[in-house]
């Protein structure tokens, strides 16, 4: 059988693309804060989210390490048999596709809302899709190398955005903490875990690491770093906007508009928009790569590069028709979308580990009898 993807990525690139993967909704809509009733507690929900995600990421990685050189699509067929395994593969595929639809629409909406309300949204979405398809066609290595660079740019821009509005910050806005009961933490945690469940893509990446044994470590780093980036975002947003922090459609964009240093260093939203575009493009090309590889492995195709452009077209078309409006999109991201991806990720993992357990037991018995 021909090797579909021959690229190898380093541990740091693996970590970088995972962080970019998580940071994309953060740079656009920050569902954690827009769904919080009491914004003071959001940074706590980030910590809880990271605490739940680390075991998840470790489990996905460990599972992949048990099947060296095989993606989650391949070994689920080994574990669950060709029929159920393929069905599970289709569900995962659907999840990846949904995510790429969300973010394509999200970036388009962000552009239209923030700066160019008259421009038709598909203008941005098509450009984004072409860019991402082009990168994804060149293989995983290219996407991940690019992803590492984008990661540095992203961290730089985010830290700048968090720190520079310091003259508008009032840290007393962060109090009181946890004053309204734990039930208020649920919606932001759901939104957070919804995005983190996209870390299922680890199952596609681990076989292509040049040192797969590093995967666990870097997966944990990815959760921690993205957690820190989000916690800082929550703190900066609440310090600057106080109780109005959950009213903004594009919180980080609005935050960057507050930057005004000495009457000359202002209007640096362009940097935030660059961060949106770059990180969304990387995330999308990673997802396009994962989707095409999934399709190829599900249906035993010999190559997967040719799927990219049609896939891009489908994504743009679906993202235009999926959501009526920005409100619709945000509602989906925070509720139905988040819940369903948590469900898929959790069930996938449970199912695969159950199958693994059963297999081990059967093997042991066979070994015992034979």
């Amino acid at each position: 059988m021909t090797v579909l993807e021959g690229g190898k990525i380093s541990g740091r690139q693996f970590m970088a693309v995972l962080i970019v993967l998580r940071a994309v909704p953060l740079t656009l809509v920050f569902s954690l804060i827009s769904n919080a009733n009491h914004v003071q507690d959001v940074w706590i929900t980030v910590i809880i989210g990271a605490a739940v995600t680390i075991p998840f990421a470790v489990l996905v990685t460990k599972l992949s390490l048990k099947f060296p050189g095989k993606t989650i699509i391949e070994y689920s067929q080994i574990l669950l048999g060709p029929v159920i395994g393929r069905l599970l593969g289709l569900v995962i595929l659907w999840c990846f596709l949904c995510t790429s639809i969300d973010i394509t629409r999200g970036l388009g909406e962000a552009y239209v809302i923030a700066i160019m309300p008259e421009t038709p949204i598909y203008a941005f979405m098509i450009m984004l899709a072409i860019m991402s398809c082009y990168a994804a066609r060149s293989g995983l290595e290219v996407t991940c190398r690019l992803g590492e660079d984008v990661f540095y740019v992203l961290v730089f821009v985010l830290l700048l955005t968090y720190m520079l509005p310091y003259n508008a910050m009032r840290f007393e806005n962060l109090r009181p903490i946890l004053a309204w009961g734990v039930s208020n933490l649920v919606p932001p945690i759901v939104a957070n875990l919804g995005y983190y469940s996209q870390f299922l893509v680890i199952g596609m990446l681990v076989p292509y690491l040049n040192k797969p044994e590093d995967a666990t470590r870097y997966a944990i780093y990815a959760v921690l770093i993205s957690g820190v980036l989000m916690a800082l975002a929550a703190v900066a947003l609440v310090a600057v906007f106080g109780p109005t922090a959950n009213s903004w459609t594009l919180p980080l964009f609005s935050l960057s508009r507050m930057i005004s240093l000495g009457d000359f260093f202002e209007r640096i939203e362009a940097a935030v928009m660059a961060a949106w575009t770059l990180s969304t493009a990387i995330k999308l090309s990673l997802l396009f790569w994962a989707i095409s590889l999934t399709i190829a492995q599900l249906f035993n195709l010999k190559a997967f590069e040719h799927l990219m452009y049609p896939l891009g077209a489908i994504t743009v078309a679906l993202s235009l028709s999926f959501f009526e409006s920005m409100v619709d999109l945000e509602d989906f991201l925070a509720k139905a979308g988040a819940m369903s991806s948590i469900l898929v990720a959790g069930l996938t993992l449970a199912l695969l580990y159950a199958a693994l357990g059963v297999r081990t037991v059967i093997r042991r018995r066979k070994g015992g009898s034979g």
Binding site: A123, A168, A179, F241, T244, S247
Partner: protein, 411 residues
């Protein structure tokens, strides 16, 4: 050959979108087609239930002051427009404005007194929702007049009204502390924070009748109506309830720890009818709420540092340490009076918690606050507020003792 022909077709098809898109983006705006509105004022219109906005729009061709000297033309144009909502009024401006007006560079959002007394809720949403308006705009209420009159106040030292007003605002906040500078972001937060009522700066008209003495006039015109930023407007909910004068405003700023500088005038110790000025260097404050037996109380601690700036009678600090400390005491006393003045008007006249004491209680006692917040209107005027001021004088300027005036009566 066939292959090459196909390639050409493809290349042509690929070039078309590129060529179409290099002409500029869809939402492009040429600088020649734009009019930058620098302040926007909101009033009730003459028609019942309509809103009038007034903007002043920069005239770029009249701003340039090249080698040829100043341009005589007024560098801005003030224009009003009405509509049922702020957004409609803003769009209706296009009936009169030959260039597309934009709010990207606006500095001020001004509410007329009458409008603010009726509540600004119906007008404020536009400013946070519309992407053109920055949250760093300063919110101002015009005292006694419509916003339309204040928006284009001219100033002698700046050509643009908004730049002039912004200059005054910044300097007054830095060096006088007798006004507040409230950005749109601050204002929205104060409106939304429980137990913290909003305040904004207060803009007034200053009338300076033209001089009778046009001495040596070659070409000279004075601005007879100008602006002043002083004091503060106090809100309760979204409604303007009254004004703080300069003293009360500085009282408010002491409590909020926002006094930057300013002059405190005290009576000079050991002299009769002589005054001394103290320049405030910096100040800080802590507001500590306490709840005992269900009754809230507030402790305000203010620390202030000052320099002796001026005395009206001979003074040598080396002669008596006592005089120096007595000056510090008097400085603390003035600060206390200013705070009390602000407290009194807020409690007794406005019944509006412009200091954010309720918010402080909410931060420290969130559970108790849930019961307290519904009756905060009754509790706030009865609130026990303890004020501790610690003032210290640091330096006495370039002179240690004053210069003496020696009377030589005999000869």
């Amino acid at each position: 050959m066939r292959v090459r022909r196909y390639m050409r077709v493809w290349a042509f098809l690929a070039i078309v979108p590129v060529v179409l898109s290099v002409t500029g983006c869809w939402s492009r705006r040429e600088i020649e087609d734009i009019g930058f509105a620098l302040s926007i004022g909101v009033d009730h219109a003459a028609e019942e239930g309509e809103i009038m906005i007034t903007v002043h729009i920069a005239k770029p061709f009249a701003i340039s002051t090249g080698v040829t000297g100043a341009v005589d033309e007024k560098p801005f144009w003030q224009v009003s427009s009405t509509g049922h909502t702020v957004f409609e009024a803003w769009r209706n401006l296009r009936q009169q404005c030959p260039r597309r007006p934009l709010l990207h560079h606006s500095r001020f959002i001004v509410f007329g007194e009458e409008f603010a007394r009726g509540g600004i809720r119906e007008a404020i949403d536009f400013f946070s929702r519309e992407g053109e308006v920055r949250e760093t705009n300063t919110v101002v209420v015009a005292k006694g007049v419509k916003a339309s009159e204040v928006v284009w106040n001219e100033f002698e030292l700046e050509r643009m009204p908004a730049e002039g007003a912004l200059g005054i605002m910044k300097i007054a906040v830095q060096e006088l502390s007798t006004t507040v500078m409230v950005t749109l972001n601050d204002f929205l937060q104060m409106l939304e924070t429980e137990g913290h009522e909003a305040t904004t700066s207060r803009a007034e008209l200053v009338r300076r009748p033209p001089s009778e003495d046009p001495r040596g006039e070659l070409k000279r015109e004075t601005i007879s109506v100008s602006g002043r930023e002083t004091g503060a407007a106090a809100f309760k909910g979204d409604k303007l309830v009254g004004w703080l004068d300069k003293t009360q405003t500085r009282g408010l700023q002491w409590v909020k720890g926002k006094v930057r500088s300013g002059i405190i005038v005290i009576e000079q110790p050991e002299e009769e009818n002589k005054l001394a000025s103290i320049e405030i260097l910096r100040a800080d404050s802590t507001v500590t709420p306490k709840i005992s037996n269900g009754h809230p109380s507030i402790l305000i601690r203010v620390g202030a540092l000052g320099n002796l700036g001026e005395v009206q009678e001979y003074f040598d600090p080396m002669e008596s340490q006592e005089t120096w400390t007595s000056m510090e005491r008097r400085m603390a006393e003035v600060i206390r009076h200013e705070i009390e003045a602000a407290l009194d008007i807020a409690k007794l006249e406005f019944d509006s918690d412009i200091f954010g004491f309720g918010a402080e209680i909410c931060r420290k006692y969130p559970k108790e606050w849930t019961d307290l917040k519904d009756k905060w209107d009754e509790e706030f005027p009865k609130l026990d507020v303890e004020i501790e001021v610690e003032a210290s004088l640091r330096r006495s300027g370039l002179t240690r003792r004053s210069m003496r005036v020696v009377r030589n009566e005999g000869g």
